[in-house]
């Protein structure tokens, strides 16, 4: 098991329309990059507990689109999608992101940087929204529906893989 304390997620707000997420993973960045960009990997981890990624489409090329749809513990759905802008495996991924139902033009631009040191990867993702209002709306409502606490699907998944 990983020491969760050393792998804590850091969320900072350097300006009123940005979010910066920093997280360390105990794996080489090649693996982290693949886990982020291949549907066969994403379905195993992306989403809060109790939510399953039911649609995961990725066209991994500059200008290519992606679309994710989750189903929650009560059958509720949420989705997000966007366009890949820059793809530089295994160190940099720039894409736009918006939640399904969002008004066009309200998408964020997300820049993920992966740095590797001694076999561990530090992910720094900078999310820039068009305005403070959009950022705050995403934080206040967009993710709320994405959180379910009903069960720990991961434990089940790991058992089937063992």
């Amino acid at each position: 098991m990983l020491d969760r304390n050393s792998a804590a997620l850091a969320l900072t707000f350097p300006s009123d329309r940005e979010i910066v997420m920093t997280r360390v993973f105990d794996a080489p960045r090649q693996l982290v990059f693949e886990a982020w960009t291949k549907p066969e990997h994403l379905v195993h981890w992306f989403g809060a507990r109790g939510w399953s990624l039911t649609i995961c489409e990725i066209e991994l090329r500059p200008g290519g689109t992606y679309r994710f749809v989750w189903r929650g513990p009560e059958g509720e759905e949420m989705g997000m999608g966007g366009v890949y802008r820059e793809i530089l495996p295994p160190e940099r991924l720039v894409s736009t992101e918006s939640f399904v139902g969002c008004v066009p033009g309200k998408e964020s631009v997300n820049t993920m940087i992966l740095e590797e040191r001694n076999g561990k990867t530090t992910m720094t993702t900078t999310i820039v929204y068009p305005s403070a209002e959009v950022r705050d709306a995403v934080i206040q409502s967009g993710m709320e529906r994405g959180v379910g606490e009903s069960m720990d699907r991961l434990a089940e998944h790991l058992q089937t893989m063992a």
Binding site: L2, L11, D26, A27, L31, A35, H44, R49, A132, L154
Partner: protein, 116 residues
């Protein structure tokens, strides 16, 4: 808390001197002179920072004109934490799952390397 109030709190927290002032006040009330000491800053300079913190509701200042001791009010900090909590939880839970999944991928690669 409205979006404007949140922005005021974030702006107040964006400055390292103001964060240090809050950290100092977390261990008890202090006068402006006491607060100015570790920063090698003029009293008007510190007063400017205190004004920003006061507007954000992060400190209360006594009315005694001579001493005006400052006190921390942590309630806006809790509101900021509550506001971002669902967002944080989404990503924390995803990344915890990713931790475990990366171990699975690492083991798979090791097995593959052994088979070669």
């Amino acid at each position: 808390m409205t979006a404007d109030q949140l922005d005021t709190v974030f702006a107040a927290l964006a400055d390292p001197t103001r964060r240090a002032i809050l950290a100092r006040l977390a261990s008890g009330a202090a006068t402006v002179t006491e607060l100015a000491e570790p920063f090698e800053m003029s009293l008007p300079g510190i007063s400017k920072h205190l004004k920003v913190l006061r507007r954000a509701g992060l400190i209360e200042q006594g009315r005694d004109a001579q001493w005006r001791p400052c006190q921390l009010d942590a309630s806006p900090l809790k509101e900021v934490a509550d506001w971002v909590e669902p967002y944080r939880r989404f990503w924390e839970q995803s990344f915890d799952r990713l931790d475990d999944y990366l171990q699975v991928l690492k083991n798979r690669e090791k097995r593959r390397a052994r088979q070669k």
